[in-house]
Amino acid sequence: MLPNATGVHSMNEMSRNLHVVGADLPRTDAVPKTTGSATYTVDVSFPGMLHAKVLRSPHAHARVVSIDASAARGMPGVHAVLTRDDLDGLSPVYGYFIKDQPIVAIDKVRYIGDVVAAVAAQSEQQAVAALETINVEYELLPAVATVEQAMEDAAPELFEDEPMGIVPDYGMGASGYRRIGRNNCYRFSYKTGDASVAFASCDHVFEDRFVFSRDQHFHLEPFVSVARYEGDTIEVWTSCQNPFPLRKELARVFQHPENLIRVQVPFIGAGYGAKNNCKTEPIAILLAKLSRRPVRFCMTTEENFLTQSQHAAILDVKSGVMADGTFVARSGLILLDSGAYSDASPLVAEKAGYRLPGPYKWEHLDIDCDCILTNTTPAGPYRGFGGTQASWASESQVDIIARALGRDPMDLRLQNLKDLGETYVPGESGLDSDMRVGLNLVADRIGYKKRKRVYGCGMGLSVGFKDAGGVNKPAQARIRVTTNGGIYLQCGTIEIGQGAQTALSQIVAETLNAPLDRVSYPALNTDYTPFDQGTNASSAVVVMAQAVQNAAIEAKNKVLSFAADQLECSVDDIELKDWTIRKGNEAHPLPVMIMRYYGGTGYEFTGEGFCKAEMDHSAPLETKCVSWEFGWGAAEVEVDTETGLIVLRQLVVSGDAGRAINPKICRGQDEGSAVMALTGALFPCMVYDGANLMNGNGLDYRLPLASDLNDGFVSILQEQGHGPGPYGAKSVGEGCMLPVASAIANAVEDAIGVRIRELPLTPERVLAAIDAAT
């Protein structure tokens, strides 16, 4: 049952003349993923392959005095042991902007779970047994488990010396700083107008502190890679969403030429942001080098929890408004809990800070976002990327303001939302969705205006917001068409679950007027695939898709001009359809024409495509944002004031796909991200006792299940048509993450008149808030 686009005519209104784009075709990865034949990195194996396991620090903060691994080397099945003594010739510390995370501990360990040593053995059990013989002497140091502790004047420092790193260039109004306070690894600031002066002339000023929970990605496929180091060539198969930046980082760490590093990416069992940059790869590669054997390093779920998390956050937000409800000025200080290493924190800070205003008509903004290091799991990219934290605070405070002014929260939003096309901030691009349309849609669907006012029941709204498409991302794509019309789409966007392979293939099939099953999407190999910065930032359909479309157009033009030459006519007189040239009533099959000209062995046409937003120093982030992603949310809750339990009766979310390339895939993104956001809103998330993670395993970590939802959970897909992608497409991967928590908290206040400013919205917090209010 392979997907076949010929004969599919289920086009909706907007796609009257499109055949493949806009159709709910089965995903091109459907058969492998439903029959068990899809190959993931966990399935990659080689003869003689060894298995790696690592020794992790039991201490949150300690100096590593000595490591004795001599006994491990003699244990059964062991082929290589790796400690800090095996790092000669390497630059063994990695990171995004700031290089601070060592492959294995060098001078200190900085969190419970920090990697101290690694072993490669014939089996995982043998590797674990060998690790148990390694003796590490630690000198314990005081630890900082929370942002507040870490910022105290006398707090112990995770890094006494400044790690190597950079501050990226910013444009108008934005700036970045390093180490400007105790355990501060980065600050992003954005200013426009003069907020402090403006507050003085506002009728009302609101100051609120919001706290954001710390979820773990819980991608079902763990962090995993398989490495080979043969001759001079490093080869790694990995579950990684940015293999080209990984190759660059590996080249730096291993002091190795990039052309002798080959990264390959099979199907990925999801990442939600976690699978960027170095995770398992440096250890697998180094062990492969030491053992001269292929090495597989596959983490357990418990280890995933010790490798990457979302950023917990404290957000102080101050907003000045006029008596008539006009939004004037907003300032804010966000503290992100970065965990023990900088990882992507500077980038998340940039986005959290930049997105804190929300899509409203403020004239004065003054936002700082600080990354604070703590002795906990390193925090990194997580779907929503700072936008989830920012939307939680921003959209909660909009309701607080509305209630204080005696206004309906929906009305106040309608009054202050920016208009379609209005620039976000000076120098920025225009917002490419009509937010009022989306807000009215979810409010109508949930029955917001007609709701009965019963104590204990309530409804809340939220407009989640982020920019989309990444900053300054170049995208390249290549199309190859064989003699018989087989199409290869080669580009660096990875199929991580989001359906990019299908959507991009649909664009190619549409452009080349071919059925979808003629388009193949080879798995990424850095030796052959055109460069890409990574599958992140909801960039596939707004940036990569343009490059893909350009490549397909170039290939098509080459085919048409070849055919026009052969038929001695103008390209305007011919059409390409199903790999046949139509000229009036004549049909000329291309294979025959190609072999007549190029010989019986045939030929391949190629097309190259490129896309990149222009550099623009007047734009705060140095390029105008490519697109803007919104998630509209409406929640109806019933609150049991005896138990504090929140029952979610309805959850309506909506994203704007601009133009849905594949509507079912878009729906899956909206619903999946909304349910993911429920974790941070209503579930316990990562629970720490001091610096000790208490629930970091599959049994204790509670995730939303099908039974946590009910038929009141609905998504509505909008196609407003204003996106920058092909056919007006926009990104949908993250938008519906953003409004969920605030819509629920807003509904809780609507229900019981109590405002909860801290996530997750646990029964204990609900009861405490009720107590505090009475």
């Binding site: 058969v31 439903t34 068990g36 966990v42 779920t301 619903e671 999946g672 349910v675 993911m676 599959g698």
Partner: protein, 165 residues
Amino acid sequence: MMSADLFNVTFRLNGSETSFHVRPEEMLIDVLRERAGLTGTKLSCDLGACGACTVLVDGKPSASCVTFAWQVVDRDIRTIEGLSSGDGDLDPVQAAFIEHSSFQCGYCTPGMIMLARALLDENPNPNRDEVRQWMSANICRCTGYEMIIEAVQDAAERNRSSLYE
């Protein structure tokens, strides 16, 4: 090399009688993935919590990560690879998952499909709520579940209509 602490287990695997010499602590999932080469069954939490490793043991959904290999002696094991018919026709559950786009990364999918198959074998006519409750045995972090529930309901209908044909 056969050592004293290995013992022989025989069971039916996707319809064929199969034997392996296993260690006492060896899990069913390791036998399936590493000995039988059936890598469609996926390991995730390794604690019996997520259901990514679900296979059918005598028709009942079981977490193969917490099932010892010796526990399945003489049992009938079905994995995702044994679901489609010999001539490649997909099971109605697989077809419905494709039709309804009920997977994203696909890592939970083999387990979800086996779980759904077990439901329909036990109850060919489940209502939406029964589907929701049953499918809550497994975790999907990608889809938000609704499209999975729709596929299972649709598969039940396909099953029924093929029965009455």
